[in-house]
Amino acid sequence: MKDRPNITLVIADDHPMLLKGLYEELTAKNYRVVGQAADGMRALELILTQRPTLALLDIDMPLLTGFEVIRMAREKGVSTKFIVLSFHKRLEYVTHAKALHIHGYLLKEDPFFEIERCIGAVLKGEVYFSSSFGTRALENASQDLKKLYLLTPSERAILKLIAKQASTNTIADKLSVSVRTVEKHRSNIIAKLALESGTNTLTNWALTNKKTILEL
């Protein structure tokens, strides 16, 4: 079995069964767990005193949430890399984690090999998100296309129609809304995708990326 003398870990979860399970799995694979916390405050304390290579944190914890622990630890200048182990399986959380420059986001029910894969990627300086989110398709896509995830469901629906070369009027008709509403959505999409404003910019962009857009 591999020995990992240089890697230290702090883990935190307010559920004793899950914390214990995680600890056992990690130590069985020879990871060095230097601290376990059952609340956010204790987790922060351990991270600040132990300065682990990695910290695996739950989000919903008493006293401080996982996100708060990460923010406060960063403010204190620790170089620990963070992986979130969460109950919440929603894209908003991933987006939020990305915005906080968190290296990994996993779900609590993810199998242990997923955790190992994530740890491996994060140690190499990569970012890793649970495969349960099915974002693999965009993993290798350009920065531009990744922005598609910023769109709301309505904006995506409209973008798909634009990609099919429907005019604003046709879209308005088809969705039974006013032309003004469609225009409002178009300008929101342009802003989110950081496109230059111009009459055909969005239409052209949608045509260029038609395949990806229709797969959304």
Binding site: H15, D60, F87, K89, H96, E109, P153, S154, S178
Partner: protein
């Protein structure tokens, strides 16, 4: 429903004062008892503890919060110097720029001075001082309450005419704030002012309208008050039939509610009207029913003496001497021994009638003279009127024709003038009816009688005589004010109760969500993990879907997003989710509001948006909708707009089934926000909310 524990009891005196030209009715209200709190000592201890905390707190803002809760505890008693504490709190609130808190306290202080301390004059000063400040605040309901209290101060101070425009302003604010109950309350009180001004037609119109509003809002207690006031008004003006009709309706409801404390005064009023219509049997029946009910010691005994005297007088006047004797003994052995004798003028009146019937003329003469003297001194014209009638009759049997004639003339003068006033009132009443084109046929019948009067001149001079309607009027006002105070308190209690309920439910949901997450959630996660290692696709997806279901239930109970992602993202995410699952196109522009709201306010805002969107999805038939949240200065503006079919908000709120909308309104109140709905059947609906930011800077 028990009115006993929670009510102040007061009894009125109607007094005339002023110059020859200006005459005012002054209502002095006296508290006999004040027993809001069963255990005074508990309150005292709690007040002491709070005062100590206030003394110790260093920060002025902390002091303000503590003062606020102290005032909340003592506002219904006169023992803790509520007014001076309230004044200090108001000053402090202004100093700390908590304008809203200051205004709430001003409103409460005026209410206290009017209704608790009977120092309406001081309430008037507080209100004028407030007006001088020219405060601008976007809270129409608060202003409606404040102006209603201010108008009450004028009313209770005898400045009747000045009270009217202030009630008007209160109404306007209530209308802007879309609060139909506050609107109707202001109208009801305004009607009382118009009644005192002798403008019965206007008063009756206002009362009918208020009654309709209360009826639609299903506010039974206020509805009954409005009806009662209206029926008293009719009775004062000699419309005994109309009065009876209204009163019968009220009594039917009150009987169904077994609300005997309110039934008794109504029965008494009925007996007086029966007497005036000379329906003696029914007069005695009403009195007997009331008197029998009163034998229940659980009921408020304040009316007991009035009923005993009333029965004694009625028996004596109707030659039921056995019963009269019995009642006489009961009164002499009980009430007559009290010092002072309760309602002595009524006691004397009953005695005079009894002695007259017994042939004990000298005794009767003594009592009658007493009443005449007392009635003249206090300006109670009805007493003088009755006394003169009695004296004329007594001097006649005693053989003193001259004195008998004098008193008879005085009696007839009063009688004529009263009926003239009634006719003038009748005139204006029917004029109003004419204007509102309601009862053309009735007018014709009355025209001949009315034509005999030179109305305008007489209206002024005979104004005085209206007071002669006396006791019936003052007595009815007892009932009116009695229920008014009760209504206010009840309304306040209801608000507190429903807000408490919402907070409580929120706590419970959070608790259940936590429990689910901690127990079942944890085990389900482990189970899913284990199954993934061992089993095939179907079993795995079964476990996964169970976990998914748990996630959505838990999120429905308590939106953990609020803590994890902040209110801004949590709300955006909620809108996106609805967007994804419905055909409605949603747009949202939500500025960062996380800095401005505390945890509770965030939760209420989240729930308000959630409920508004739920309604929109269910009922609006909209194709597009938007959620806009912006920070403007120190407020947060929320607008939820759709292009659907719109709805009548007032109608919706009145439907008792629209619990969601009601809860939404209560939540808006809890977070001290202004709530508006603009809805048009062709242009869709906008629900707008203005929330004061909490953490400034």
């Amino acid at each position: 429903m028990s009115f006993l524990e929670t009510n102040d009891w007061m009894h009125p005196f109607v007094v005339f004062f002023g110059s020859l030209k200006k005459l005012f009715l002054l209502f002095c209200l006296c508290f006999v008892s004040l027993s809001l709190f069963g255990q005074e000592s508990d309150l005292e201890a709690s007040v002491k503890a709070l005062k100590r905390k206030i003394g110790q707190s260093q920060k002025k803002s902390d002091q303000l919060v503590l003062l606020d809760s102290l005032l909340g505890q003592i506002r219904n008693t006169t023992e803790f110097h509520y007014d001076s504490i309230a004044r200090k709190t108001i000053d402090l609130a202004f100093e700390l720029d908590s304008t809203e808190m200051a205004l709430v306290q001003i409103s409460n202080l005026i209410f206290y001075l009017n209704n608790r301390a009977q120092r309406a004059q001081e309430g008037l000063e507080v209100f004028r001082h407030f007006q001088e400040r020219n405060i601008v605040l976007d809270d129409d309901r608060l202003f409606a309450q404040l102006y209603t209290n201010g108008a009450d101060s004028h009313f209770f101070s005898g400045e009747l005419a000045a009270a009217i425009p202030i009630y008007d302003a209160a109404e306007a604010f209530a209308l802007k704030g879309q609060d139909s109950i506050l609107f109707a309350l202001a109208r009801t009180y305004k009607a009382t002012a118009y009644t005192s001004l002798g403008k019965f037609a206007r008063a009756s119109q206002l009362l009918s309208e208020s009654a309709q509003i209360f009826g639609r809002a299903r506010d039974t207690t206020n509805l009954l008050t409005a009806w009662n006031t209206l029926s008293v008004l009719y009775s004062q003006n000699g419309f005994f039939k109309e009065a009876k009709k209204g009163r019968d309706e009220i009594m039917a409801i009150i009987r169904a509610r077994h609300d005997y404390n309110h039934l008794i005064p109504l029965l008494y009023n009925a007996s007086r009207d029966f007497d005036k219509m000379d329906r003696q049997k029914e007069r005695i029946a009403s009195l007997t029913e009331a008197y029998t009910l009163m034998l229940d010691p659980e009921l408020d005994q304040s009316f007991a003496p009035i009923l005993a005297y009333g029965l004694l007088k009625a028996y004596a006047q109707n030659d039921s001497m056995v019963r009269a004797d019995h009642m006489f003994r009961t009164v002499q052995q009980g009430l007559a021994l009290q010092r002072p004798v309760p309602y002595e003028w009524l006691y004397r009146e009953a005695l005079a009638n009894y002695h007259l019937a017994k042939g004990a003329y000298t005794k009767a003469l003594g009592d009658a003279k007493w009443i005449l003297e007392y009635g003249t001194r206090t300006g109670e014209f009805e007493m003088a009127y009755d006394a003169n009638r009695l004296l004329a009759e007594l001097y006649n049997v005693l053989g003193d024709t001259a004195l008998s004639y004098t008193h008879y003339m005085a009696y007839m003068n009063h009688k004529d003038s009263i009926s003239s006033v009634q006719k003038i009132n009748a005139l204006s009443y029917y004029q109003t009816l004419y204007e509102t084109e309601k009862q053309d046929s009735k007018i014709k019948a009355q025209n001949i009688e009315i034509a005999l009067l030179d109305t305008k001149n007489k209206l002024k001079t005979q104004w005085i005589l209206f007071g002669g309607l006396g006791l019936a009027a003052s007595f009815s006002i007892v009932i009116l004010l009695y229920s008014r105070n009760f209504n206010r308190k009840k309304r306040k209690l209801q608000t507190e109760f429903s807000q408490h309920l919402i907070k409580n439910r929120e706590d419970q949901y959070t608790h259940v969500s936590r429990e689910l997450h901690d127990s079942v959630g944890q085990k389900l996660i482990l189970l899913t993990k284990e199954i993934r290692k061992l089993a095939n696709g179907d079993t795995v997806s079964l476990a996964e879907s169970a976990l998914e279901k748990l996630r959505s239930i838990s999120r429905g109970l308590y939106p953990a997003d609020l803590e994890n992602l902040g209110a801004t993202k949590a709300i955006a995410s909620m809108v996106d989710e609805v967007d994804a699952h419905t055909d409605i196109l949603f747009t949202h522009e939500i500025e960062d509001i996380d800095w401005a709201l505390d945890k509770d306010t965030s939760l209420h805002l989240y729930r308000i948006v959630q409920e508004a969107i739920n309604n929109l999805v269910k009922h609006s038939g909209a194709k597009a909708a938007s959620v806009l949240i912006q920070c403007k200065g120190d407020t947060i503006e929320v607008a939820i707009t759709d292009d659907g079919k719109g709805f009548d908000f007032a109608e919706k709120i009145r439907q008792s089934t629209s619990l969601g909308m009601r809860t939404l309104l209560e939540r808006a109140k809890i977070i001290r926000s202004k709530f508006r709905v603009e809805s048009d059947h062709s242009k869709g609906t906008t629900i707008a909310l203005t929330i004061p930011a909490q953490n400034e800077g």
